[in-house]
Each structure stands twice: as structure tokens, then as C-alpha cells.
Symmetry: C2
Subunit: 321 residues, 2 copies
């Protein structure tokens, strides 16, 4: 029987992924386990294990179950990693270090037969400016946030442990996921969802940056699709470059708002209140704006092709009205 483990399974993307795996029966007959510090009360009804992904003993216990596929989603988000430096490195990098070493130990204990697929959610935060108009697949990782540096360091480890055959891993540099359902989180990018989600729910939303800010988005549904596609990918096709820029849709905040106006009307748009925040503007100014993710597209990864479509996914999958 196939064992599937989602680290960070209680988070928004972890829940979307679990839901997609069950709904589409992606791993027929598989045993699916979600691991996280906490789970939503009305979460996806599968087996859960509660614990801290940064606890090496806990990670060794999880590895000892020899999951065939591991989705490594658990992370401290960008804003928190910036505010709590030690915590960010501990959870976002050292936890991966302990996980990879625990999996390597299982690989060795199995006589080399155990070699799990590991799908790691990296981020476009591994990039730092100045940027070309579109970031290509050979653009350098020069992150300007702790979160981005931690994700980039994990990519290097995932690739090297894979190259040596201890695991079979790859890293997905997720676009900013939008529209996130539920409450705002501590990610500095949270407002990209907030300015769509809150107005659609009749609530005021704060816009902390200028509406000329351009950014790179994909929906939660697309994110879950990236992850399940990666779980089944022939990693030989990656030719040793196991970190991928994923497809998404590039638009300005003004274009996001125009799409919202088309979908929901002016009264909804009027709920967006500009309240400039220098800290968030400083972080966002260093973020990527547009990509040419040719490799991932050739490998069959797909995302939305308009912001209207991204809003529609939210309306279909998540609107709580």
C-alpha cells in the first residue's frame, strides 16, 4: 500500500492538496496522513498526526513509517520568518535538514530500496531584484528575505540528497497563492488575497501597497495540482535541475481590482481601502513580477491564464457566503 505524508497538512495548501487527492483518487488505495501543529476543526477527514516539524525526533518517527510520497509544505511564512529570525531558520531550513537525514537513514537501513518521492514547496521568494522583465529558468536565486534564503537552501539540499539517490525529490517555486480562503495570515503577501476575499465577503480590506505593484499569482486549486503533478513526474526529465519555476498569471494590483469589478461590481471594489505600509512595500518591492516558466510548462504544470479565472476558482471552491 502506498503511504502518503503531507507535512503542513493542516495549512491551507495542505488541506487543498488532501482534498484533491481524495476527490480525484490520485493515489488509489493509498494511506494518507496529514502532519501539522494543528488542524482546522472541519478539515479534510483523514488521519492526522500532531507535532512540530522542527523536532528532529518527531521527524525521525515520521521517516520510520517510510512514506512513499512526502509533500513538505510546513513553513513559517515570510513575514514571521523576517520578524523571528531564529525561528524562521529553524523551521524553514533546519527542519528540512533533519527530515532529509532521517530519510537517508531509512534509505540506508533498507539496503537502498527505500527512496521516497519528496515534493517540496519552495517559493518565488528565492529570487531578489533587480529583475529582467520576465524571469527565465536560468535566473539566479538571490533572495532578499530570510524566507527566500531558507527556501533556496532547502532546494540545494533536496537536489543534492536526490542526486545521491537517498530520496527522489523536487522543489516547486510556488507563485503567490491567491485567493487564499479563510483569515489573513502573517505572510507579507497576504493582502494580495485579502483585497479580493474580504470585499467578496462584504468586509473592508486594506491595500498596503500602490496599485501599480505587479506580481505573480496562481490559485490554491492550481497549487494542489502542481503538487500532485510533481508527485507523479519522471524526475529524470529534470536533468539534475530539481527546482522549478511554476506557471502563474502576472498582473498589477490595479488589474486584480479591475477583475474584481468585472466579477462583483463597484460596491465590492469600494471596500478596498488604501493604507500604505512601508514595511510591506519594502518587502514587496523586492519580489518578482513576471516569469517565463518554460521548463515547468513543458513538463505539464498548468495554472490560470487570467485573474478573472483566479477569482472564479475562489468563488467555486471557497466563497463562504
Amino acid at each position: 500500500m502506498t503511504n502518503i505524508l503531507i507535512l503542513g497538512g493542516g495549512g491551507m495548501i495542505g488541506q487543498k492538496l488532501a482534498g484533491r487527492i481524495i476527490e480525484h483518487d490520485i493515489f488509489p488505495g493509498a494511506n494518507l496522513v496529514l502532519f501539522d501543529r494543528a488542524f482546522p476543526p472541519a478539515g479534510v477527514p483523514v488521519k492526522t498526526v500532531t507535532g512540530d516539524v522542527a523536532d528532529p525526533a518527531m521527524v525521525r518517527t515520521l521517516a520510520a513509517g517510510r512514506p512513499d510520497v512526502i509533500f513538505a509544505l510546513a513553513a513559517v511564512v515570510s513575514g514571521q520568518a523576517e520578524a523571528e529570525f531564529a525561528l524562521g531558520w529553524d523551521v524553514n531550513m533546519m527542519a528540512m535538514w533533519h527530515l532529509l537525514n532521517a530519510l537517508k537513514a531509512e534509505h540506508e537501513a533498507s539496503g537502498g530500496t527505500y527512496c521516497p518521492r519528496l515534493v517540496f514547496t519552495s517559493s518565488i521568494a528565492v529570487f531578489g531584484g533587480p529583475y529582467p522583465d520576465k524571469i527565465g529558468d536560468e535566473f539566479l536565486s538571490a533572495p532578499q528575505t530570510s524566507y527566500g534564503a531558507q527556501k533556496a537552501a532547502c532546494e540545494l539540499m533536496v537536489t543534492d540528497f536526490s542526486r545521491k539517490g537517498f530520496i527522489d525529490g523536487l522543489s516547486l517555486r510556488l507563485p503567490t497563492i491567491c485567493v487564499r480562503p479563510g483569515k489573513a495570515n502573517a505572510a507579507a503577501s497576504s493582502f494580495f488575497s485579502g483585497i479580493i476575499r474580504e470585499p467578496l465577503n462584504g468586509i473592508e480590506a486594506v491595500l498596503p501597497v500602490a496599485d501599480t505593484v505587479r506580481h505573480w499569482h496562481a490559485s490554491p486549486r492550481a497549487a494542489a495540482g502542481f503538487l500532485t503533478h510533481a508527485a507523479g513526474l519522471d524526475t529524470n526529465l529534470l536533468q539534475g535541475r530539481r527546482a522549478l519555476n511554476l506557471p502563474g498569471f502576472s498582473c498589477t494590483v490595479a488589474e486584480q481590482i479591475e477583475a474584481l469589478r468585472r466579477v462583483a461590481g463597484q460596491k465590492v471594489v469600494d471596500l478596498i481601502k488604501p493604507v500604505p505600509d512601508q514595511t510591506i512595500m519594502g518587502m514587496v518591492n523586492g519580489w518578482p513580477r513576471d516569469f517565463a516558466p518554460d521548463r515547468a510548462i513543458a513538463l505539464g504544470f498548468t495554472a490560470e491564464s487570467s485573474f478573472d479565472e483566479i477569482i472564479s476558482v475562489y468563488l467555486e471552491d471557497d466563497l463562504s457566503l
Copy 2:
């Protein structure tokens, strides 16, 4: 008084650096300390401390001395890091993690006044093929060796700890240093020096790769110059991108051998014996061949402009005849 600490001060580059600092009086009146697991018997006559750079307690003791400038050269070389996976990650990455955290603790204990310059010797091994004809300053780090992955992970940490103001660091991606004096080491690149050094000393040398292999070289003297230049550099000029591709000279093994023939004659060249080694060929095939290091050149870093010049530096500085 300025305190200067060289981690890996017993190694070839550490010794060249210490010699240069003393000879050119680079840090007038400074207290220079070399740290390493061992030192050459007739090494540069300065204070030495013996220990393991991968021992966190030892690293904390070194940091407690609050060195103003730290040269972080200590490493397991590429061939050994490939053969001894755990050791490579421990010495080449975790040691840097412990060092940076020890320096951050000193920064905080000082009320933020202590912020040392850290010059880290990274490597062109952070790159992996396929390559453009010349690697530019925005080309991705996609290492295909453990050594390269470890160096790239350290670069990310050095940059992020610097961005937060705990240290003021930069990473120098050294070309392959050639002609290394003394004995061959366990680096897979060791033969690039061996085929020049051994014949000049009347000894046979093994050439494990085809003479069409093109690679990127700078002399030990240039390496010491990179390091002292970096110690005095205004890091604001780096604009957050604190890992630099350095200048060097690109040539094929055949061109190296031609230069040797011009300098020392056919009888010396006849001491080079081709003995193909698949393991070394496999590693070398993944290495960079040529660079356009525009940023480092603009920042005043300099290297040799011919392989004849590189051989001349060996003859002037090191020939043991």
C-alpha cells in the same frame, strides 16, 4: 587593535593569505590568528590555534574573541565531500551555520556594535551545467556536486545574516586555484595543478581527462589578493548580492600544456601521462568553463590574464627546486 582570524589558516590558501597580509602589512598593527586542524611545519610565523571548525563549542570560543575580520576558508574539498557525504555537509555547511549563529550572539551581546567582516571562500562549483559560453553574473546556482551545494547554501546564509546586520559578509566564488604548490590534494580539480607542478619539479604527472577540457583558473597569489581586497570592500556596492563570480583565465588543458612547453620545454611536457579516470571526467564535465565576471572586475578584483602568467607566479612564489 584589529583582530584578524583565518579559519583554515593551515591550508594552502590560508598560508598564502597570511603571508600576503604580513608582507604587504594589509592590516597595520593587527593581531593575526590562524585556526585549523593542523599547520605546516614551516608555515607563516604567526599565532595559531588548533581545532575543528565543525565543533560548535570551538566556534563559539573563536567568536567570543570578536575578530574584526574573519576569513572563512576551512572546507572539505570537492572529492572528499563527494565520497564522505555526511562529513562534507557537516564541515562545509553546518560549520558555517554554527559560526554565523555564534557571531550573531556576539553581535547581540555587544548591543549591536560588533558586526565583523566575514569573507567566505565559495567556489565556481556552485554552478552546474548546461552552461552558456560565458557564465554571467546572473546565471543560476544549480550545483551538481555536494561540495557545490554546500558552498551555495553557505552563500545564502552569509547573505541573509549580513542583510539583517549581524555580520557584514560576502562570498567569493574562487576559480580553480592553479598552480597549487606542494602535494596533490583530494580535490577532483587537483590535476589542473599537478600537470604543471609535477613536471616543473621533474616528476611524472597523471592527466585524467581529455586535453580539450576547458576550465577557469587563477593563481594562489590572485586568490590571496581576492581575499584581502574583499576584506576592505565597501559592501554597500554589492546592493544585497553578496556572492561574486571572480575574475580568472579560461583555457583548455591543451593550452595549459602549450604554456608549459613555452616556459619549460618539451622534456618537461613529456612528463605528463594521460591516464583517463571516469570518475574525475564525470565531475569535471559538470564544471564551468568560462565566465564574464563583470561585477567583480568593476569592484576592483584582479587575476592573471594568461596561463603563462599563472605558471610564472608559481615559478616566482613556489618552485621548490
